[in-house]
C-alpha cells in the first residue's frame, strides 16, 4: 500500500497560499488592526479584534487564478443589541455604519458593504470585517487575551489553546511551565452576535470554538487533519463545474465530522473521509433530501443551510466516484501507478511519477567542461 508521504507533503505545500500571499495577508490584517487601535472615534466601542476563518485555522487553499486570498477579521464591540437594551441598543446595520468613517479614511474607494460585513479590497488580499455586538461580560477577558488576538494559524501553532496561560511559540521554550496545553484550563466562551446576511438582525456565531474544534481534530489525527481538509477543498474546486456546493467551511465541517482519529497518512485520511461521507449519507440522494449538520459553536445553526438538496446530490455522487479512485490509489502497491491515480483526483498539481530518462548511465565528457554564461546584455 503506497501512502506517498513525500508526494502528499509536497502537494499540500503547493496548494496552500504562497509565501507572498501569506505575507500580503499578514500585512493587510496587521495594518488594519493597528489602524483600528489608533482610530480615536472607535476607541469607545472597541473591545477586541481577532482573526477567524480558514486563514486562522490553516485550512485555506491557494486562491484560484484571478481570485484573491481572504482574511476574516472579527471586531468585538461593546454595542448592545436592541434585545438586551431597548433604549440604547444598536441594530446590525447601524453597528456596521459606525465603522464607515474608519474605512473611508484608510481604504477610500476600496471598501464596500457586503450584507453582514465590510469588505476591503487591497492589491492582493481581501479583508472581511465582521462586527459583533457586546459579548457576555464573562467572555471579555477571553476575547481580549493574547490567545484570541494571535495571528498565528493552527499549522504554525498546533498547540494553541484559549487560556490566559497561553504564550506565543517563540517564548514557550523559555518558560518551564508553559508546556501544559490542555483543554481543561481553557475559557469556555459563549457565542458572539454578528449581523445576519442582510444586516437586519443579530445572529449567533462562534469562531473561537471552530478554531478549538479544528485544533482538537488535528491533534487527534497526528497533525494530518489540516492537510486532509486542504486536499478535499482542492478536489472540490477542481470539480467545481460539476458541483458547486458544499465548499469552504461546510466542506471543512464534513471532513471534521468524518475524518477518523489516528490516521497514519494523508492518503489514508483522504480515502477514509471520502468513504465515510459516501456511506453515512448514502440514503439522502435517494430520498431527495439533505442532512442537517449542527454548527459546533452554535448548534441551532445548520451548516448545510445554504446547500440545496440537488446540490447535495451532485456532491454525493462526486464523492462516490472520488472514494472509489482514492481507495484504488491507496491500495495500489506501485508508487508510480498510485501517484497517477491520485492525479485523477487532484489534477496535475499532485506530483506525478517521475519522467523516464531517455538515456541512463554516465558518459565521460568528450572535452573539458567550459562553463560559459548563457545570458548577455
Amino acid at each position: 500500500m503506497a501512502t506517498l508521504v513525500t508526494k502528499f507533503s509536497d502537494f499540500i505545500r503547493d496548494i496552500r497560499p504562497t509565501q507572498g500571499q501569506r505575507d500580503d495577508m499578514k500585512q493587510g490584517h496587521t495594518v488594519l488592526r493597528n489602524r483600528l487601535s489608533e482610530f480615536d472615534d472607535l476607541q469607545d466601542i472597541l473591545v477586541s479584534d481577532f482573526l477567524q476563518g480558514s486563514y486562522r485555522r490553516s485550512t485555506a487553499i491557494r486562491p484560484a487564478e484571478g481570485c484573491r486570498s481572504d482574511v476574516d477579521i472579527v471586531v468585538v464591540t461593546n454595542l448592545p443589541r436592541p434585545e438586551d437594551d431597548p433604549v440604547g441598543g444598536v441594530s446590525p446595520a447601524d453597528a456596521l455604519a459606525r465603522f464607515e468613517p474608519f474605512v473611508e479614511k484608510y481604504y477610500k474607494g476600496k471598501w464596500r458593504r457586503q450584507g453582514r460585513s465590510i469588505g476591503i479590497e487591497l492589491s492582493y488580499v481581501d479583508l472581511d470585517l465582521v462586527i459583533t455586538s457586546k459579548p457576555a461580560s464573562k467572555d471579555v477577558e477571553a476575547y481580549k487575551s493574547a490567545a484570541a488576538l494571535t495571528s498565528v494559524g493552527l499549522e504554525e501553532d498546533p498547540d494553541w489553546w484559549l487560556s490566559g496561560a497561553w504564550v506565543p511559540i517563540e517564548e514557550r521554550a523559555k518558560q518551564v511551565t508553559a508546556a501544559a496545553a490542555s483543554a481543561d484550563n481553557e475559557w469556555k466562551t459563549s457565542p458572539l452576535w454578528i449581523p445576519d446576511r442582510d444586516a437586519d438582525e443579530w445572529d449567533q456565531t462562534h469562531p473561537l470554538s471552530q478554531i478549538q474544534y479544528s485544533r482538537d481534530r488535528n491533534k487527534a489525527c497526528g497533525g494530518l487533519y489540516l492537510g486532509v481538509v486542504k486536499c478535499l477543498k482542492w478536489w472540490q474546486r477542481s470539480r467545481s463545474t460539476d458541483m458547486s456546493k458544499p465548499k469552504g467551511y461546510p466542506l471543512e465541517h464534513l471532513v471534521g465530522l468524518h475524518c477518523p482519529d489516528g490516521i497514519a497518512s494523508h492518503a489514508e485520511g483522504v480515502t477514509l473521509t471520502f468513504e465515510a461521507i459516501r456511506d453515512v449519507y448514502a440514503a439522502y440522494p435517494i430520498i431527495g433530501g439533505k442532512p442537517v449538520l449542527p454548527d459546533h459553536g452554535v448548534p441551532t445553526h445548520d451548516v448545510l443551510a445554504r446547500v440545496t438538496a440537488e446540490e447535495f446530490k451532485c456532491f454525493h455522487s462526486a464523492v462516490v466516484e472520488a472514494a472509489g479512485i482514492a481507495r484504488e490509489a491507496l491500495d495500489e502497491p506501485d508508487a508510480d501507478k498510485s501517484a497517477t491515480l491520485w492525479q485523477k483526483l487532484f489534477g496535475l498539481r499532485f506530483p506525478g511519477p517521475p519522467v523516464v530518462k531517455a538515456m541512463g548511465g554516465f558518459t565521460p565528457p568528450s572535452e573539458s567542461a567550459r562553463p560559459k554564461p548563457t545570458r548577455y546584455a
Binding site: D23, R349, T374
Partner: protein
C-alpha cells in the same frame, strides 16, 4: 536662380481647359512661367448673391509646380480679390514682388466643410487634379462668403501669423490642461517671463512665468532635464493674458501695433498701458518679446482647454540718451513719449514670431505609450547594448522619469550596437546615455548614476528604492542578487532582460513584488540555458582587436533592435496588468526574420 521657361506641358494645358470649362471659371491671362512655376490668372465667380465679405467675382493667380506631382496654390491676385485672411487660408499679406497676395487657400484639409462640396480625396492624376482644385476653390469662396468655413466640432485652428519671418527661431513653451487650470486660478493679467536658450537648440524657451515684481507666478513650467543646460537669454519677455485670440475679423490677426491695441481694448485690456507699465525693465537697447496668451478649445465651440501663446518681437524701446527732446536721460515719461512717437506707433508693423507648444500632449499624436505606463518611475540597470536600446525605445514612446545605472565607459567596439555615437567615446555609458535621452524629449528627466548596483551594498541607492519599475539589463547575476536582497515597501514591477549568444533569444523575466525573486528567475531560465548551451558550445571564444582577451559576445544591432522593440510591447502589457506570479517571456528570432513570443508562468510554491 530661375530655370529657363520650358514648354507648357500638354497635360497641364488639358487640365486647365477642363477647369476653364467649369461654371464660374474664366481665364484672364494665359499660362506664364514665373521662376519655378506656371501661373494662370483667372477669375472665379462664386455662387450666391452679391452681399457678403467676398466679392461675387474675384481674381486669382493659380501657381502650379511640377504638375501633377507638385503644389497647386490659389493665390488672391494683387487687385480685384480678397485682402483679408479667411479661415483655411494662409496669412493674406501683400507681396511686393509678385502679382499676387500670400493668402494661399487651404483646399486639401481633410474632413473639413469643403469635403462636403467637392469629392473627398484629392485625385493625383493629371486630368483630374487641377479641375478638382478649381471646384474646391469655388466651394471655398461660397463658404467664405457665408461665414461657413468652420463648423462647430471642427478641430480648432489658429489664425495664421502675418508677415512671419522664416528665419527667426520659434518661441517654445509648455502648456496643457493642468497649466491652463493654474492660469485660471491666477489673478494676474500680465507680468514678465524668463527666456532661455540652449547651445544646440534653434528655439527660445519660455523658462518661467513671473509676476510684475519678477517673482515666480504660476503655472510652473515643466521643462525636462535638457533645460538645465540653458542659459538665460539676453532678452526677456512680457506676457499678457487675453480672453480670446485677438483677431481683427475672420482669421486676420493684427498686422500693426495700432490694430493690436484696438483688438485687445475690444476685450477690455489696454495693451499699450501694460507695455508702458512694464517698459522700465526693458529699456536696454535690446529687442524684447511680447507674449499674448488666450485660452483655446480643442474643437470649435468646445470649452477652453489650453492656453495658447502668440509672440511678437518688440522694437527696441527708448533708453539711455534716446529720449524725447527736453526730457532728461532716465525720465520715464520722456521715454514713453518717444516710444509712442517712434517705436510703438499705430502703423508700426508687428514682427510676429512663430510659437510652439512643446508639451507632451501636443507631441503624442504620432504614438506613445498609454499614460499609466508612461508615468512610471523606471530604474534601468545596465546601459550596454540591450539597455541602451530599451532606454531609447522607452523614452521615445513617452517614459520621462528614468534612472540609468552603469559603471562602464563607452569604447569604440561598443558602437556597433549601442545608441551612443563617437562624440560619447570615453564617457561613462550612463552619463552619455542620459544626456542623449534628455535630448529626445523636452520633458524627459533622465538621471545617470555611474555605478553598478552591487550585492554588497548596505542599502539600495535612493533612486532605485523610489522606482516603480526596475528593469535589469545588466546580464549580471550579482545585480539580481542585490535586487533579491533589497526590499521595497510598495510592490514594484521587476523586469530582467538579457539575450542569448548571437541574440537568438531575448529573455524577459517579469515579476511583481517587494523584491526580485531570484529563485524563480534561476529556475525559469535554467531550461532555456540548458537548451541553447548546446547551440554555442562549438563556437570559439571571440577575439576583438589585438591584445589581451576580454569577453565579447556576438549579436547584431538589427537583431537586437528588433528584439528590444518587441520587448517594449511586452513591458507595456506587464506594467498595465502586472502578473500575479513571475513570468518568463522568451522572444525568439525565427529563421524568416520574424520574432515569436513564448511565455511561461511560475507554478511552484514560493518557500
Amino acid at each position: 536662380m530661375s530655370t529657363p521657361a520650358p514648354h507648357l506641358p500638354a497635360d497641364l494645358q488639358r487640365a486647365a481647359e477642363a477647369a476653364a470649362a467649369l461654371d464660374g471659371v474664366s481665364v484672364l491671362l494665359p499660362w506664364s512661367w514665373d521662376t519655378d512655376a506656371w501661373v494662370l490668372r483667372c477669375r472665379l465667380v462664386r455662387e450666391g448673391g452679391d452681399a457678403g465679405p467676398v466679392p461675387k467675382a474675384t481674381d486669382w493667380c493659380v501657381v502650379v509646380r511640377r504638375y501633377p506631382w507638385g503644389s497647386i496654390q490659389f493665390m488672391p491676385a494683387g487687385v480685384h480679390s480678397i485682402e483679408d485672411t479667411f479661415w483655411h487660408q494662409a496669412a493674406n499679406d501683400a507681396c511686393a514682388d509678385k502679382p499676387w497676395r500670400m493668402g494661399a487657400l487651404c483646399l486639401t484639409t481633410p474632413g473639413s466643410v469643403l469635403g462636403r462640396l467637392a469629392d473627398g480625396h484629392e485625385p493625383m492624376d493629371a486630368d483630374s487634379r487641377l479641375p478638382w482644385h478649381f471646384r474646391r476653390a469655388l466651394g471655398w469662396l461660397q463658404l467664405a462668403n457665408e461665414g461657413a468655413l468652420q463648423d462647430d466640432g471642427d478641430p480648432f485652428e489658429m489664425p495664421p501669423l502675418p508677415n512671419l519671418s522664416s528665419s527667426a527661431w520659434p518661441m517654445a513653451y509648455i502648456e496643457n490642461l493642468e497649466s491652463y487650470r493654474a492660469w485660471c486660478c491666477g489673478a494676474d493679467r500680465y507680468g514678465f517671463a524668463k527666456l532661455g536658450v540652449v547651445p544646440y537648440l534653434k528655439a527660445r524657451l519660455v523658462l518661467q512665468w513671473l509676476d510684475v515684481a519678477h517673482k515666480p507666478a504660476s503655472p510652473a513650467v515643466g521643462w525636462g532635464a535638457f533645460a538645465e543646460g540653458s542659459k538665460e537669454a539676453g532678452d526677456s519677455a512680457i506676457w499678457v493674458r487675453l480672453d480670446r485670440i485677438p483677431v481683427m475679423r475672420l482669421a486676420q490677426l493684427p498686422r500693426t501695433w495700432g490694430e493690436l491695441v484696438r483688438a485687445s481694448s475690444d476685450q477690455g485690456l489696454d495693451i499699450r498701458a501694460v507695455v508702458e507699465r512694464l517698459a522700465p525693465m526693458l529699456r536696454d537697447g535690446r529687442r524684447h518679446y511680447l507674449l499674448i496668451g488666450a485660452p483655446i478649445p480643442h474643437n470649435i465651440g468646445g470649452p477652453p482647454a489650453l492656453m495658447q501663446w502668440l509672440c511678437l518681437r518688440l522694437p527696441s524701446l527708448s533708453h539711455g540718451t534716446k529720449q524725447t527732446r527736453g526730457f532728461r536721460k532716465g525720465n520715464e515719461q520722456g521715454y514713453i513719449r518717444r516710444d509712442r512717437a517712434e517705436a510703438l506707433t499705430p502703423r508700426e508693423v508687428l514682427d510676429w514670431v512663430a510659437t510652439q507648444n512643446w508639451d507632451r500632449a501636443q507631441r503624442a499624436t504620432r504614438g506613445v505609450l498609454p499614460s499609466s505606463v508612461r508615468q512610471q518611475r523606471v530604474a534601468l540597470i545596465g546601459a550596454g547594448a540591450v539597455g541602451s536600446l530599451l532606454a531609447e525605445n522607452l523614452v521615445r514612446v513617452g517614459v520621462e522619469d528614468l534612472a540609468l545605472f552603469d559603471h562602464d565607459q563607452l569604447a569604440i567596439g561598443n558602437l556597433v550596437r549601442h545608441t551612443l555615437t563617437l562624440v560619447d567615446l570615453g564617457q561613462g555609458k550612463s552619463v552619455a546615455l542620459a544626456e542623449r535621452l534628455n535630448r529626445l524629449t523636452p520633458q524627459g528627466r533622465v538621471v545617470a548614476i555611474p555605478q553598478m548596483v552591487q550585492c554588497t551594498d548596505r542599502q539600495l541607492p535612493e533612486t532605485l528604492a523610489n522606482a516603480s519599475v526596475v528593469l535589469d539589463a545588466s546580464g549580471s547575476d550579482e545585480v539580481l542578487c542585490a535586487l533579491d536582497r533589497g526590499h521595497w515597501p510598495e510592490p514594484v514591477l521587476f523586469l530582467s532582460a538579457s539575450v542569448s549568444w548571437r541574440a537568438r533569444h531575448l529573455y524577459l523575466f517579469v515579476a511583481q513584488g517587494h523584491s526580485f525573486p531570484a529563485n524563480a528567475f534561476e529556475a525559469m531560465l535554467e531550461p532555456w540555458a540548458e537548451q541553447w548551451r548546446g547551440d554555442d558550445a562549438g563556437e570559439e571564444e571571440i577575439w576583438e582587436g589585438v591584445g589581451c582577451w576580454h569577453p565579447v559576445w556576438p549579436g547584431r544591432y538589427d537583431h537586437l533592435a528588433g528584439l528590444a522593440g518587441c520587448a517594449i510591447g511586452v513591458i507595456e502589457k506587464a506594467v498595465s496588468e502586472p502578473p500575479r506570479t513571475p513570468m518568463l517571456y522568451v522572444l525568439e528570432r525565427t529563421a524568416d526574420s520574424g520574432i515569436t513570443v513564448d511565455s511561461t508562468c511560475w507554478e511552484q510554491a514560493g518557500t
